[in-house]
Amino acid sequence: MTTAVGTTPQSPPRPPAPARSRRTGPRAWATRAPLLPALVFLIAVTQLPFVATLVISLFDWNSLNPDKRAFNGLDNYASVFTDAALRDSVLTTILLTTGVVIATVVIGLALALLLDRTFFGRGIVRTLLITPFLIVPVSAALLWKHALYNPEYGLLNGALSWVGELFGDTSPSQPDWIADMPLLAVIAALVWQWTPFMMLILLAGLQSRPAEVVEAARLDGASAWQTFRYLTLPHLRRYLELGVLLGAVYIVQNFDAVFTITAGGLGTANLPYTIYQTFYQAHEYGLASAAGVVVVIGTIIIATFALRTVSSLFSEEANRA
């Protein structure tokens, strides 16, 4: 995956170019030594299990039937793509991820633009806005499920009653949010949690915009919209890409919200949840592993672009230094 990074960032001139003789000598190892513990640890804990997953994915292995474990080639992969439940969860994952990412980027951009100015209490507003991100994800999911969505006493229906009372409506509509729109309910809770993340990235982007250029555009009589369209947006492009890609990588992996709000029911089971269930409840080890490999391949495709974006921002920083 690392080879996918097209543009190798130019290193700043600080370290003198290592002489050829140092490449393999004891001094080269002395330079590498501080790096090795972290590298070895990470390879052992993250890469080895994945190799094991690859191997297990080629076996017919149900732990309730351990005697029948047998090599079956790519059969599990065929099952992944033909099994209706797994196919549905691929679609759910795509809907969930794109829905959350698009909504958070749009709302996050609006909030970042609002915060990119001086006004009274700006620091407090920023703190208020990042609070959703600092609620433990399980707590947030429980909060939305029970305190907001509950059809009898949730805040959403409570607010509808209030509004109804205000307009003299004696029987205001009281939808059962999770049952009526399960996927949307999960998406809304996740949008609430992840919008601060997008806002912070985009705000950092807005604030790295060179002030002189914006000032010059204003003096030249550019309207606010023109400044936004022709200066701010092009400058933000890479920050938007970064937010979208990192957001996608995090949301694809979401487990907490689906597990807590709907327990994967009502057509909201995404791939991580389905894999969890296939292995933890159905004990289909081979099938779960094959599904895991499919998720990894999907993630690698997104991650390749994410890494390229990080790389270009990174090289910009390095060149500036």
Binding site: S11, P34, F133, Y153, A159, Q174, W192, F259, A288, V293
Partner: protein
């Protein structure tokens, strides 16, 4: 409005200025409104946690019901005798020890990636980053099987190892950018005086990069504290963490909303404290150091 103050701008310019000011005030108010709307569910959680159960679950909501700490008392086991302390302490232990281990591994690694750089250091950086993008669910089964055979199921030290690997890439990326700001001359001076690498790291580099290291630690702590999937699969009764405890909390029927909100507030408090403390560096950690 034609006060004759000294070199005032031309009337039309002044009017433009005034309009800009009014617009700024309006947008400031809009920002405040947005902030409050966003915080509303969290504030609602706090308010509900301070209501009696009978006032918490009403429709329309009872905003001004009397406040009480009964929800918190119930959460800490006043009725059932089941205390949440073991899971809270498990979460604390797993998060704390994994954060310490992350820092011990990441600090020397960041040194080799920023101060005395290895060859192809950018490739190494991107290798660290790419492991973060591998979905954890794909490695879950082998880890489970390993833990089962090694007798490490339901053991917080297994979580410590896993959380360390989960946070190590973030920590390496953040620390690399902080250590790059430490002047080389200071480090060279220490080395001329005969200090060896561990001493240099502990006595020279760490104190100079302390704010950055603290922010890194807080972010690693948050991610470990929040984690659910590993903890759910790999722990049972003994090593259960706070998020797992929370998911199992909603079992009883009847009125429980105030207690649930109290539980959510208590479990979220460490994250809120750490997050507000690390606010300025939060974005750098979340974007894996790509955004400063």
């Amino acid at each position: 409005m034609t006060t004759t103050t000294a070199p005032a701008p031309a009337p039309s310019a002044r009017r433009v200025l005034r309009r800009a000011k009014r617009r700024n005030t309006a947008l400031g108010l809009l920002a405040w409104a947005a902030g409050l709307v966003f915080c509303l569910p969290a504030l609602w959680m706090l308010l509900t946690s301070l209501h009696a159960e009978s006032d918490a679950a009403t429709n329309p909501p009872s905003l001004f019901a009397p406040l009480t700490l009964d929800g918190y008392r119930a959460f800490f086991g006043s009725d059932t005798g089941v205390t949440p302390w073991p899971p809270l302490l498990n979460s604390l232990g797993a998060s704390f020890f994994s954060t310490v281990l992350v820092l011990l591994l990441a600090l020397p690694a960041a040194y080799a990636l920023s101060i005395r750089r290895v060859r192809k250091w950018t490739d190494v950086m991107f290798f660290f980053l790419s492991t973060k993008m591998l979905p954890v669910v794909a490695g879950l089964l082998p880890v489970y099987l390993f833990a089962k055979n090694a007798g490490m199921l339901d053991n917080i030290w297994l979580l410590v190892l896993l959380y360390t690997s989960m946070n190590l890439p973030i920590a390496v990326w953040m620390m690399q950018s902080f250590l790059a700001d430490v002047p080389v001359s200071v480090i060279e001076a220490a080395q001329v005086d005969g200090a060896r690498l561990p001493t240099v790291l502990a006595r020279v580099v760490a104190p100079m990069a302390a704010p950055g290291i603290a922010a890194t630690a807080l972010i690693c702590f948050i991610f470990s504290w929040n984690e659910l999937l590993f903890a759910r699969v790999l722990t049972g009764v003994v090593a259960q963490t706070a998020p797992v405890f929370l998911t199992g909390f909603v079992t009883s029927q009847g009125l429980f909303l105030a207690q649930l909100c109290a539980a959510s507030v208590v479990v979220s408090l460490p994250v809120l404290a750490a997050g507000y403390a690390a606010q300025d560096k939060l974005v750098q950690g979340l974007s894996l150091g790509a955004v400063k």
